[in-house]
């Protein structure tokens, strides 16, 4: 059973639509990546799923609680790491954490021991009594992450969790995310760090006002890809034969090599059939192994092209 179920979820602020018609599911123990350019609606989506914003239409259930249901129950079951750590600078690390433990009615010695273990793990051991105003950006980020974990949430929403962290701390956070998922928690990760998403996420959704694609990274690669076709003669002339394809596909010719970007449901056999029909002799067809970043850029730029 899915821990997060999103159906036709939309949010508008006045006449401006932030996100429209989102549909996806996230299971228990899954790390789910939410990708999209700035202003694509990732934060709005997370805010709806954590009970901070009311959807304009559609519905969603998080940890068994519908978004239009008991907000208190929802917020008790989810943890949120916001883009800004949002710590109280004049308060010490311990006071910051204890405040949220009190709000969750968990200010017990066991909970505090757990918090201290997390602080130890993230290299903040011994800094409990230091004011947060004296912390570096990375330390603040790590403390905010601990705050999101304090109440043992079933689902965690992490907005750029490794932003501003040194490589060692970033690795610790990534390992922790993996462990949290292994414990059965659902993690929704918003990030611009493609390598991190590729490494951590079992599935990824690309949004830009609407859902552009959702699936595992290999599935996304298959949805949008580049194929290298080695032909006899000028590749440019072969490329001209692809003009009947709708929507028009992007191709680049270099000597005898034609690189074709597949989009809009066009597959490799479609391209090969067109070239063969134009009596182009094909020596090799090589699907390119592409990074998630290329797939992401292609999806998001594709919507820009549609818009124009």
């Amino acid at each position: 059973m899915s821990r997060i179920e999103v159906r036709s979820l939309s949010k508008a602020f006045g006449s401006r639509t932030a996100v429209e018609g989102l549909d996806f599911d996230v299971g228990a123990g899954e790390v789910f990546g939410l990708l999209g350019p700035n202003g694509a609606g990732k934060t709005t989506t997370v805010r709806m799923l954590t009970g901070l914003l009311r959807p304009t239409s559609g519905r969603a259930t998080v940890c068994g609680v519908p978004l239009d249901g008991d907000g208190e129950a929802l917020r008790s079951r989810v943890g949120l790491l916001t883009e800004q750590p949002g710590l109280y600078d004049r308060l010490t690390a311990e006071e910051n954490l204890r405040f949220f433990l009190k709000l969750h009615h968990r200010d017990t010695s066991e909970s505090w021991d757990t918090a201290r273990r997390w602080m130890q793990r993230f290299g903040l051991g011994g800094r409990e009594n230091d004011k947060c105003g004296t912390f570096s950006k990375g330390m603040r980020q790590k403390l905010a992450l601990i705050r999101a974990l304090l109440h043992d949430p079933e689902a965690l929403f992490l907005d750029e969790p490794t932003s501003g962290l040194d490589p060692e701390s970033a690795r610790t956070v990534r390992e922790s995310v993996g462990e949290l998922a292994a414990e059965g928690r659902t993690v929704v990760l918003c990030s611009h760090n493609m390598a991190e998403v590729e490494r951590l996420c079992s599935r990824v959704a690309v949004v830009k006002g609407r859902l552009l694609a959702v699936g595992t990274v290999p599935e996304l690669r298959r949805q949008t890809g580049v194929v290298e076709i080695h032909v006899e003669g000028r590749a440019g002339a072969a490329g001209e034969l692809l003009s009947p394809i709708v929507p028009p596909c992007v191709w680049v010719a270099e000597s005898h090599v034609l690189r074709v970007t597949l989009a809009g449901g066009v597959s490799i056999p479609d391209v090969v059939a067109l070239l063969a029909g134009g009596r182009v002799r094909i020596h090799a067809v090589l699907p390119a192994q592409r990074a998630l970043e290329d797939v992401y850029l292609e999806l998001t730029r594709g919507t820009e092209a549609e818009a124009t």
Partner: protein
């Protein structure tokens, strides 16, 4: 969402810690009580250094033309000052919560701490109560403490002339005990309401502080002799403020809507 007192008290606990560690705000909070105690004490002291009966009688007759010939005009003026000063003294329970609440509500927006707080299971009414307690309790405590110091200071200065205590009297005890806390809720309610609408603590303070203007107008009326202050007069002020307090609390809880705060201020 059900109301849980422990969550409201958690908010109060955090606000109290934050206040204790903010020396600038503490200094601002203590400056006003110092002025409001020292100024009337200084005036009484100055009067008693040169108790010119003729001058004081003409001043006293301006305020009360029926003043008996055998009445002590200096004692009359001291009593008049003490009664009228309560109107100015009320600035303290209004202003101290404005200083604290502006920081605690608009300050959350400025410091970008609002979103994690709203993501916690705390309701609008718990937040409003928690933050209100953190500003009203210190304001009332400072007012009561200042009143105690004022009583001692005025009595010590006036004793050689009146040979007895000027304060406390029934009006001041009623005013400090009942009216002042109501004014503290007024200052807090206004600051919470304004802070929920504006993004800066300083702007929230400036706008909320405008509430002292009508109060100063009333004190001006007392000094001009148009308004005769007393227990009944301050009781009416207290009743009006009580109604305003209830309206402000309702409006504040409505304005603490997550959707509105998150979409506008984070």
């Amino acid at each position: 969402m059900s109301f849980r007192l422990h969550r409201a008290l958690a908010v109060t606990w955090k606000e109290a810690l934050d206040l204790r560690k903010n020396p600038g705000l503490l200094a601002s909070m203590l400056a006003l009580p110092a002025v409001l105690v020292l100024v009337p004490t200084g005036v009484v002291w100055a009067w008693l250094r040169h108790p010119d009966a003729v001058t004081f009688r003409s001043m006293a007759l301006y305020y009360d033309p029926t003043l008996p010939l055998n009445a002590d005009p200096v004692r009359f003026m001291i009593d008049k000052l003490v009664v009228d000063w309560f109107g100015i003294f009320l600035l303290m329970p209004i202003f101290v919560p404005i200083l604290i609440s502006s920081q605690s509500v608009a300050g959350e927006k400025e410091r970008r701490t609002l979103e994690p707080l709203l993501a916690a299971p705390v309701s609008a009414s718990e937040l409003v109560l928690g933050k209100s307690l953190a500003s009203v309790v210190p304001a009332v405590a400072i007012t009561w403490l200042s009143f105690a110091v004022f009583v001692v200071a005025v009595d010590a200065v006036a004793w050689p002339l009146v040979h007895g205590p000027v304060l406390p009297n029934g009006m001041w005890l009623f005013g400090v005990g009942i009216v002042a806390p109501l004014f503290a809720f007024l200052g807090n309610g206004l600051a919470v309401l304004v802070s929920a609408r504006v993004g800066e603590a300083r702007l929230a303070q400036q706008l909320s502080a405008l509430v002292v203007l009508p109060l100063m107008g009333l004190v001006g009326g007392q000094l001009a002799g148009w308004i005769r202050a007393g227990t009944g007069y301050y009781a009416v002020q207290g009743a009006v403020v009580l109604v305003l307090d209830v309206l402000l609390v309702r409006a504040s809880v409505r304005l603490f809507d997550r959707e509105r705060l998150v979409s506008r201020w984070t």
